[in-house]
Subunit: 215 residues, 2 copies
Amino acid sequence: MTNLRALVFDAYGTLFDVHSVARRCESFWPGKGALLSQAWRAKQLEYTWLRSLMQRYRPFSEVTRDALAWACDSLELPLDEHKTKALMAEYLALSPYPDVREALEKINPGKRAILSNGSPDMLEPLVQHSGLKFDAVLSVDEVKIFKPAPEVYELAVRRLAVNKEEIGFVSSNCWDALGAKSFGFTVFWINRFDVPPDRLGFSPDKTLKTLSDMA
Amino acid sequence: MTNLRALVFDAYGTLFDVHSVARRCESFWPGKGALLSQAWRAKQLEYTWLRSLMQRYRPFSEVTRDALAWACDSLELPLDEHKTKALMAEYLALSPYPDVREALEKINPGKRAILSNGSPDMLEPLVQHSGLKFDAVLSVDEVKIFKPAPEVYELAVRRLAVNKEEIGFVSSNCWDALGAKSFGFTVFWINRFDVPPDRLGFSPDKTLKTLSDMA
């Protein structure tokens, strides 16, 4: 890590626990909270990949709302405007994982940024609510395609004005870590849930259990 | 359908039942066949989208093998070279759905083709084994990107020499149907399993329960 001049973090799933929405889901549909939260997240990612390939980019807030509607449909859970608003609002106040705050204080090789699929209307309130501090909060909305397209990782190089060889990228989403590795970053995969690594022709430079292990 | 001069079919999931591998999975890992088959298929699709976005195309046979290895890992099912070979061989002899043979005899607006993610090393033996007849069997391998990228659907226009307005596209995979719709085909979604339509900004021209309903 000694040659790194910037650390770039993924937001959803890495710094912030997307499944912290499960509690609110559970309050609306008792017994189904975890299941809905999983289906929602899986479809949300799927739609980012599909829309990118179709060349039909829409902001993450819209994709997330569409994915929620599909997930509720598929589980036969009645969704209305009130519930949609309440669940989308949860996304603006996701909990950071318990290891995040302390780890971010200890590790700081220079610049520190977020690079996220999130659209500014979701990302800015989320970061502000968390109180976490970054030199830059970068959204794919600027390049109108989602991760793991190389254009997204290139955005960090351009906006931070740091060579890609000097950027460390941190993600808990293995496919995102490997997309960043394919692009040319030094990659730290935070394997929070002890899942097998994805087989996409690349390996992370370092696999860690929590963000604290980076310090 | 009267203005259509060609019908283009998706292969996996539309003409051929990818879950016909579940029996062989079950024989290797009793009680886990259906679960493995589902996880394998989901990861296979995920890898096609991710590799396309990463601009790291590899043939479907390799992607399918990688997805099998990941799925077995995630379910903690021991996989060896013998089992891998046997399961990959199943993919060359997938069963057509029961409605396919008769429906294909009844509907024929002119040219009839397959347009598939499958690489030729998987697709050609599969079609030959089935005995089904087509004017063309087209693989994304020619354009080195997977569905639903527009380049894929464009391949059918080019190779069949039929305008896109005159091509009917048939798929059971809703996201594939909507990718084709976004490109400009007339689209028939065969919703075999009564799932909710995907929310990707487009709708199929026609939603049917089986291929027989097209006749």
